[in-house]
């Protein structure tokens, strides 16, 4: 399997940390699935939280450190290159990592990436030593530009963030895999079910990044475990070299030696 800036996780599920019923349930989901990479963000703390020991952000950071997982900070909600670059710098200082999940959002209904701004921000950050994980589309021309800008990983969406629709454009994602055979590819966003994640891994993807499908499930920890299993199965299926689909039947039981009984 391909590595992410030199890091080769055993577990190919990257898990978002938002929207869980409680921090304890988030921790259960991480532990039960064996996740090694989680995403995080930077936000203003509410007034009553900002001082004292009870700051929600401080407690969250303590929890992540206790879990011992690697953090992939994001620039979620940024709509301009300037916002995204500034947020990335702030995240690098707080989280102590050069990794950044780069989001530059171009449209609010679909949260579709602004790929023009994304390429510009990716170049600025890569030149500044960041290891950029760009949230992009399955457009292979854009993918090429992102690689030219210094990215060594691409993260095309499966479907709009939080939609749970699965892989909207299987053809495009398969084409992307074939076009960039040596680049680590992560399906990021839109996954709703473990079968969606398995499907992406069967296409040869290297990891799946998801959040809502686990966090908003009735039992997040169980769902996280289900995703981890599906991703492992999909990964093994890809390694096992699946058969090509065909239109007509091909008998699996040998015809030779069959008795004539009619």
């Amino acid at each position: 399997m391909r590595a992410f800036y030199g890091f080769e996780p055993k577990n190919r599920l990257f898990l978002g940390t938002a929207r869980y019923p409680s921090p304890a349930i988030l921790a259960d989901a991480v532990k039960r699935s064996g996740v090694e990479v989680v995403t995080a963000s930077l936000r203003r703390e509410a007034g009553q939280d900002k001082a004292g020991e009870g700051g929600a952000g401080q407690a969250f950071w303590a929890l992540i450190r206790e879990l011992g997982v690697r953090v992939l900070p994001n620039t979620a909600g940024c709509h301009t290159v300037k916002e995204a670059v500034t947020t990335a710098h702030m995240a690098r200082e707080v989280f102590g990592t050069d990794w950044i999940k780069l989001e530059v959002i171009g449209e609010d209904d679909t949260l579709q990436p602004d790929v023009v701004g994304l390429i510009e921000a990716a170049r600025i950050l890569s030149d500044d030593g960041f290891q950029v994980f760009p949230y992009t589309t399955e457009d292979i021309v854009v993918g090429g530009r992102l690689l030219d800008a210094g990215c060594e990983v691409l993260m095309p969406w499966g479907a709009p963030i939080g939609s749970g629709r699965g892989l909207n454009n299987v053809y495009g994602l398969r084409t992307m895999r074939q076009h960039f055979p040596d680049i680590p590819l992560v399906v990021d966003a839109g996954i709703g079910l473990p079968s969606h994640a398995a499907q992406a891994m069967e296409l040869g993807y290297d990891a799946i990044l998801l959040n809502t499908a686990v966090a908003k499930a009735g039992n997040p920890a169980l769902m996280a475990q289900a995703f981890a299993k599906a991703i492992e199965a999909g990964c093994e299926a890809w390694q096992a070299q699946p058969i090509e689909a065909r239109d007509m039947a091909a008998p699996s039981t040998p015809v030779m030696g069959k008795a004539f009984l009619s």
Binding site: G16, T17, A18, R19, Y20, L26, T39, A40, S41, L42, R43, R44, E45, G47, K50, A51, G52, G55, A56, G57, Q58, F60, W61, I64, P73, N74, A76, K82, T86, H89, M90, A91, E93, V94, F95, I161, G162, N211, T212
Partner: protein, 65 residues
């Protein structure tokens, strides 16, 4: 002076970003800062002079997808 702290008006006596953070109870907290849209690294907060109406962002680690 009055700052726009995380989008809200905030009176502070401090003249630098480092002193403002201490005055506002952020001592020892893991936070990142920006002034008027530009990142200010922790090591530069003492030298960062604030002015009336500056937009100061103080951000903390938070859940994210």
């Amino acid at each position: 002076m009055t700052l726009l702290l995380n989008g809200e008006p905030q009176e502070v006596a401090a003249a630098t970003l480092a002193d403002a953070l201490a005055e506002l109870g952020y001592d020892g907290k893991i936070v990142a800062t920006a002034v008027n849209g530009d990142f200010v690294a922790a090591r530069r907060r003492e030298a960062c002079q604030l002015a009336e109406g500056d937009r100061v962002e103080i951000l903390a680690p938070m859940q994210g997808g």
